[in-house]
């Protein structure tokens, strides 16, 4: 991915942190109701993506310049941004897990 960063003019090396993309197909996804439009995200974006505009509309950041560094996710003071994989909306069904969870909370009643 290093050459892509050079190609698209990234200013800094992305940090290796817990905020980095969990998968190559993950997108930065905002929760518009948490966003206060402060602009800290876009200011810290090495590719200069106007992340704030995506956040306002609750739209996932699909800008081709995104290098998935996770800087915006890390710096957002309101916890607005997270990583989502496009297919993660569909939850994987696990019958065993469902039975186990039902059991756990059935005992409580």
């Amino acid at each position: 991915m290093g050459f892509l960063r050079k190609l698209f003019g990234a200013k800094t090396e992305p940090p290796l942190s817990a905020y980095a993309a969990p998968a190559p197909d993950a997108h930065v996804t905002p929760d518009a109701t948490r966003c206060v439009q402060c602009g800290v995200c876009g200011y810290n974006c090495p590719a200069g993506i106007p992340v704030r505009d995506y956040a306002r509309q609750g739209q996932l950041v699909d800008d081709p310049r995104c290098v998935q560094c996770g800087k915006c996710v890390e710096v957002c003071p309101r916890g607005t941004l997270r990583w989502e994989r496009p297919n993660s909306v569909v939850m994987q069904w696990d019958e065993a897990e469902y039975a186990e969870l039902k059991q756990l909370f059935a005992e409580a009643k």
């Binding site: 800290v40 710096v75 003071p77 916890g79 607005t80 909370f105």
Partner: protein, 452 residues
């Protein structure tokens, strides 16, 4: 062609303008801004103060955003409103006629109620110009005092400390952010503040602001008689809705402008939204005031639609606020207020910005669960079998599941026995319960027909 006039260019005003244009492509939209900037993020001022971003960065809409939507932006202050003539006078001499008017003038920081409150060096965190001026003053300041019990005051204290100014934080109560925090949560933040070099003075009220011969702040005298020297006095004691333009008009006002569920005032065609509006709430049968950013955006959206001819009721969502104070992530959701002494009258001036009245309402049967694991805490407020509030400090993995459980009014009786466990297990059980709730939603068959 309808003429729409919006007084105020903040979260509510700009959102309403955008929403009107989505419904009415031909109407004439004018937004009057008292400050010489396109719409900017007021919550973002805290991050300007801490040098996280340069001041220009908080400007959230550029002039081309207005142009693209054919929204005329006028930089002036409205001085007079004639509801019969349907006209607004501006301080630049111009008058603007309207068919529909939105009052979205917002609120400003409440002035300090002490002698000497007008001295040079009493500072607020409520406008972009004020924040730019404050940054300049900080370069010369050596000692600062901050007064106020909410987020804004805490953000100011953090800003001063960040600029290596000796900072004294004065709070009336014996805990920090007492509208929301319990003693343990307060202690957690206090430790962070002390690590940043902030001196905290609990149970402390200011008696008088002291000045020097040049009319500048030189210190404060406290109720205890003690004096604290300072060059700057940061005030974050609450907000005051801007109501000047409605004074002397038939528009009904209480603490702010009274509007019905459709955000319309008692004068047809005139609406209000944001920090200057007190909105009728059908559940409590009261007019409630919210001074939160997301609320202003949501109300601005509904006001805009209704002005453009729709009829949509504004439904108050769950109060929600996320913030970052001294490196601690904090999320407050729903009803969290500590039960207050019934003899204590509700003093509006002490309702801080970033605050919501609902946090102070009393659930009928209130119990809570609280867990701490290192710097991470979670507190749940329960009313019967429902979660009504949550406060999360530090690790935020529970923030979204809890918000959903509160919003959806999920029956959490199955979770109840696990709420007493505390520590990391509480988080684990909440996450498991959330997963089960989602799985059950997937199991629920969709009703196609229903015959009686």
């Amino acid at each position: 062609m309808t003429r729409y006039l919006i007084l105020g260019n903040g979260a509510a005003g700009a959102t309403a303008a955008e929403e009107i244009r989505l419904t009415d492509v031909r109407g004439e939209i004018t937004v009057v801004s008292a400050e010489p900037y396109p719409m900017y993020s007021r919550p973002g001022l805290a991050y300007v103060l801490m040098n996280e971003v340069p001041d220009r960065q908080v400007i959230a809409r550029q002039p081309d955003w207005y142009e693209a939507r054919r929204i005329r932006l006028v930089f002036a202050t409205a001085t007079q409103l004639d509801v019969a003539a349907r006209r607004v006078w501006l301080n630049n001499g111009a008058t603007l006629p309207f068919d529909r008017l939105l009052l979205a003038t917002g609120a400003r920081a409440a002035p300090l109620p002490y002698a000497g409150a007008n001295l040079d060096g009493v500072v607020f965190l409520d406008t972009l110009d004020g924040t730019k001026d404050l940054l300049k003053r900080m370069k010369k300041a050596r000692r600062a005092v901050v007064v106020g019990g909410g987020i804004t005051a805490l953000e100011m204290a953090e800003g001063f400390a960040h600029h290596k100014i000796e900072t004294h934080y004065c709070v009336r109560k014996e805990t920090l952010w007492s509208a929301v925090f319990n003693a343990e949560e307060s202690q957690l933040l206090a430790e962070r503040m002390q690590a940043h070099g902030v001196h905290i003075h609990y149970n402390t009220e200011i008696a008088e602001v002291l000045g020097d011969a040049k009319g500048c702040v030189s210190g404060v005298r406290l109720n205890s008689g003690e004096t604290l020297e300072c060059d700057l006095l940061g005030a974050g004691i609450g907000v005051k809705p801007q109501l000047d333009v409605v004074r002397g008009t038939p528009i009904r006002v209480d603490k702010a402008i009274l509007v019905n569920e459709f955000l319309e005032t008692n004068v047809p065609g005139i609406y209000a939204a944001g920090d200057c509006a007190q909105i009728f709430d059908r559940w409590t049968q009261k007019h409630l005031l919210d001074v939160l950013w997301p609320t202003a955006v949501a109300a601005g959206r509904v006001a805009g639609r209704n002005m453009a001819g729709q009829r949509e009721a504004y439904v108050k969502g769950t109060p929600f606020n996320a913030c970052l104070l001294f490196g601690l992530h904090i999320t407050a959701i729903g009803q969290l207020g500590q039960l207050r002494d019934a003899s204590e009258p509700e003093v509006f001036q002490h309702t801080s910005r970033g605050s919501s009245e609902v946090w102070f309402s009393r659930p009928t049967a209130y119990s809570s669960a609280w867990a701490q694991s290192g710097a991470d805490t979670v507190r749940l407020a329960l009313n019967g079998n429902q979660l009504v509030g949550a406060l999360i400090i530090g690790n935020q993995q529970l923030a979204d599941p809890l918000r959903a459980l509160i919003d959806q009014q999920t029956d959490v009786s199955a979770l109840r026995p696990y709420l007493q466990t505390g520590g990391p297990q509480l988080a684990e059980h909440v996450l498991k319960f959330w997963k089960l709730t989602k799985m059950q939603a997937m199991q629920t068959p969709v009703l196609v027909t229903s015959k009686v």
